[in-house]
Amino acid sequence: MLGFNKTDLVAGIGVLALGAFVLFVAKDYGYGTARRMGGGFFPINLGVLIMLMGVAIILIDGRRPGGAISLPRMALRPLAAIGVGMVAFSLLVESAGLAPAMAAVVFLSAFAERNVKLVRAALTAIGMATVSVLIFDVGLDLQVEAFAW
């Protein structure tokens, strides 16, 4: 695309956006002077540096011969499965207890695999729930409840 490596182009644009965001937030913190640094001194300088690097990534990495011409493929299924699993854990651990939370995250994360075997996932979930209760609740006496209802 226009002779730029796509991966680097996208990465560079992302970096520019990141730098801009940092500057946008940090501008309200007050730059101050070198002698008396304000809250924004450090982040603003870093933000500028980040944006400069973004330009470098686009112009230098992007034009590098032999670079990555196509965009990388994202593994959406694992992202979704693990994400949902971790959300489930965070919602359940205090309301329902460690055992259900653990079982949920393990079971749901297993779906990251394309050919997930349901029975195996369920057994692993139950197993992990048991093991973690034994280790963390009984063994370490951590302040978590196995079942909190």
Partner: protein, 513 residues
């Protein structure tokens, strides 16, 4: 230089701490648990320490660190086992071991590889420990002259070093470092009292949770990336006790590689900002460069394991030097160790060895004990670890996600931390896809607040004059090193560019004919 009588009495103090029942018990526990968790692929030393950290809260500081250190070097050893048998590194610093260790196991010589790793780890640790014991007290004396400018420049140097080692281009590394620094200052600004980058979220007022971020960044992307890919399988019965011994020729080549490894490892470990990862890569590069026949590397060359594994373990030991004598962590793991000290009310720094000799020397002796235990434990237990690795990945990886969740949650009982870990996982995955290295970012995250406060103090005292960093002798020396490193970075980039241009020209020419 080294006063032997004094050294002897220090060791005696240390031994009395390390050989206590508590000291021995928790050392053993740490080493055993650490190796176990380290063996699990994708779960590295960081995860092992984070998950087992709650265990140490009720212990006194010395015992806590004894156990955590045991977990640390235990898990690094476990990580090598995973690298050799499954080509899935347990820890970043054992990634290099995959390069020749895995081919060796495919050739049926896994036993030899594992055995050599055990020996190499032990030798590396002992030498690194000797450097720690000898050098740390000297550096402490020297470091009492250090002030804000020196600390600031040291951190800059560490970050530049991390950027150079990183796998992507230099600008990507700088982005990673800079963004890490910004994540580090999230929370309340001590000098002004303002909240920065918190976006009104209460739990962020004290900063981003390091454990959550690091576990998410290191632990999750690998799982996300690998879960649907081809995975190697092996048969545990193939690894017998007898098959573990290397041939005589192998012993000789290995020995020299190990000796070089200790040097490389001890040096790079002691630099702030670098640790086992750099040490093992440097050792591999060195071995390959000086070998008579470099083509054997990547196909099961024993020097490809013995050098890096030794370097790795030496670096682990010497990484304690800047952490304990300067209070500057060498990498994320050391930062966690530092955090544990602080939780227990102990502040590592130049005064540490003098004020708390029983703690420092207790740790030194305990590290020795721990590595002996590791040696003795792992030769017979190799079969056990191997059997663990035979567990199907479809059972392992969801369990690892579960462990990460509880490890993150158990740190502060904040469900927000789980979300931070998720964000970290997504960020780490994107970085992986778009060729950004994560390690410099973590270092930036840890050093952020420290760097800013040292910069502020330096400029306050010098009244805004930036030349303070160059005028002061020590700080100036470090600045020159930084400039040299930056110049090297740019030079390397230009040279690579030129080479690729030349390659393209050759390719085009041959196409034309």
């Amino acid at each position: 230089m080294v006063n032997f009588a004094e050294f002897g009495s220090n060791i005696a103090i240390g031994a009395s701490v390390a050989f206590s029942l508590e000291g021995l018990l928790y050392c053993f526990l740490g080493v055993f648990l650490g190796t176990f968790i380290g063996v699990l692929p994708g779960v590295g030393a960081f995860a092992a320490i984070s998950v087992l950290l709650p265990l140490t809260f009720s212990l006194d500081p010395t015992t806590a660190i004894i156990m955590l250190a045991g977990i640390y070097y235990g898990s690094v050893y476990g990580g090598s086992t995973a690298s050799i048998l499954l080509n899935l590194p347990g820890t970043a610093s054992t990634a290099v071991t995959c390069l020749d260790g895995y081919p060796m196991s495919r050739q049926g010589r896994a036993g030899v590889a594992l055995f050599i790793t055990t020996i190499a780890s032990f030798i590396g640790s002992v030498v690194g420990l000797a450097v720690l014991a000898g050098f740390a007290p000297i550096l402490s004396n020297f470091a009492t002259d250090f002030a804000s400018p020196e600390y600031f420049m040291l951190m800059v140097m560490g970050l530049i070093a991390a950027a150079i080692l990183s796998s992507g281009s230099p600008w990507r590394a700088v982005v990673a470092v800079s963004f890490g620094l910004i994540m580090g200052i999230v929370g309340v600004d001590i000098s002004t009292g303002d909240y920065r980058f918190t976006f009104g979220i209460l739990e962020l007022f004290e900063g981003l949770p390091l454990v959550a971020m690091a576990l998410g960044l290191f632990g999750l992307p690998e799982i996300i990336n690998n879960v649907n890919k081809e995975r190697p399988k092996f048969n545990p019965k193939d690894i017998t006790f007898g098959s573990m011994f290397p041939t005589r020729g192998e012993w000789k080549r290995t020995g020299k590689a190990m000796a070089r490894g200790t040097g490389v490892g001890s040096f790079f470990g002691a630099l702030p900002g670098t640790g086992g990862v750099l040490a093992s890569f440097m050792s591999y590069a060195l071995e390959k460069r000086i070998h008579r026949d470099p083509s054997i590397f990547g196909k099961g060359a024993i020097e490809g394991i013995s050098g890096p594994e030794t370097a790795n373990n030496s670096a682990i030991m010497t990484a304690f030097i800047p952490t304990l004598t300067l209070g500057i962590p060498g990498d994320a793991l050391m930062a966690l160790m530092l955090g544990v000290f602080l939780i227990h009310g102990v502040t590592p720094g130049p005064e540490f060895i003098v004020q708390k000799p029983e703690m420092f020397w207790g740790l030194v002796v305990s590290f020795l004990i721990g590595n002996v235990i590791l040696l003795g434990l792992n030769v017979p237990l190799i079969g056990l670890w191997v059997r663990i690795l035979a567990i199907p990945y479809s059972i392992l990886f969801p369990s690892v996600v579960g462990f990460i969740c509880i490890g993150v949650y158990a740190f502060n009982f904040a469900t927000l931390d789980i979300f931070v870990a998720m964000v970290g996982g997504l960020l780490g995955y994107l970085m992986l896809l778009y060729r950004f290295d994560v390690a410099p970012m973590i270092l930036g995250l840890i050093l952020g607040p420290l760097m800013e406060s040292n910069l502020k103090r330096s400029l306050l005292i010098s009244r805004g004059d930036f030349s303070v960093f160059i005028d002061r002798p020590i700080s100036g020396a470090i600045s020159y090193v930084c400039f040299a490193l930056l110049a090297y970075m740019v030079f390397r980039e230009i040279r690579g560019w030129r080479k690729r241009r030349a390659e393209q020209r050759v390719a085009r020419r041959s196409e034309g004919t």
